[in-house]
């Protein structure tokens, strides 16, 4: 894939750990780009064990949530898994209200996130 610009990816124990460049995921063209980069991880790079580390992220809009759902839907039929970790408490609240925490597993931190793939 083209060098991603909105995410940084590190391989660790067979899991792709993804971090976000933006503290606020809200600008519509950035969200589009983010969505494309995440999907390309699956379709182009054939990675399907993904752990998204939200440590840097202070805010995200529902348009960004939608990209995560699309990513989850893309990974599922490949037999892979999408998990999230290090969510700020307000963002975790968003996942609880929308019940997306039932769709996408949320782990407290990267260590536990990586361990959960084992």
């Amino acid at each position: 894939m083209a060098t991603p610009k909105r995410i940084v990816v590190n391989e660790q124990d067979g899991v792709s750990v993804v971090r976000f460049v933006d503290r606020k995921i809200v600008d519509s063209s950035s969200i589009e780009q983010l969505g494309e980069e995440l999907i390309a991880l699956v379709t182009v790079d054939k990675r399907n064990m993904l752990l998204l580390n939200f440590e840097n992220v202070e805010f995200l809009s529902s348009a960004a949530l939608n990209k995560l759902i699309s990513l989850r839907n893309k990974i599922k039929p490949t037999g892979g898994t999408l998990k999230l970790c290090n969510l700020h408490k307000d963002i975790e609240q968003v996942f609880k209200i929308t019940k997306l925490d039932k769709l996408i597993e949320i782990l407290p931190n990267e260590e536990k996130g990586l361990a959960s793939f084992k």
Partner: protein, 166 residues
């Protein structure tokens, strides 16, 4: 800008200061159907929240509600028509935030929206904005046509890192 309240000095509400000293911050602006312009206004709003001592979860929740409502006005209301505009009226005091967002679309009925947490909708990548607005604000009123929303956030008794929803 002269700050009517300095959060450090007056961490707690007092009716006196509210009625006589607090000069609520106001933004009254017409923007085009461009989310970048919406972003600029929301940035200014969030700056006013900081100035008036809002923080923590309430800060986050107001940011979310404003973002979702402005994007809906542009996307669903005006359908990004460059000939249509969105009217923003934002007021921030230390105890209450008033956000009124009006588009030039034909509106919708917020009461008949499907529940995005339903089993058959949970995998759909859409339909969570209005729900989050309602969860995060103290009051949400759409007009009859559905092209204008008024959202109010009242400061919870606890200041600071409250995790109250609405």
């Amino acid at each position: 800008m002269v700050l009517p309240f300095n959060p450090q000095d007056q961490p707690h509400e007092s009716e006196f200061s509210l009625d006589f000293n607090a000069k609520p911050w106001t933004l009254d602006r017409v923007i085009t159907s461009c989310t970048d312009e919406g972003q600029v206004a929301i940035q200014e709003l969030m700056g006013a929240l900081v100035e008036q001592g809002w923080d923590g979860s309430e800060f986050f929740q107001v940011n979310m509600a404003a973002e979702e409502a402005v994007v809906n006005a542009i996307e669903h209301g005006n359908k990004r028509d460059p000939c249509k505009s969105v009217h923003l009226l934002f007021r921030v005091s230390p105890t209450e935030i008033y956000l009124e967002i009006t588009d030039q679309g034909s509106g919708f009925n917020p009461d008949t929206l499907p529940d995005p947490t339903d089993e058959d909708l949970i995998e759909k990548p859409r339909g969570r904005g209005v729900m989050l607005i309602k969860e995060f604000m103290s009051e949400v009123h759409y007009n009859d046509r559905g092209n204008s929303v008024v959202m109010i956030k009242r400061r919870s008794a606890e200041t600071g890192d409250s995790d109250s929803n609405g």
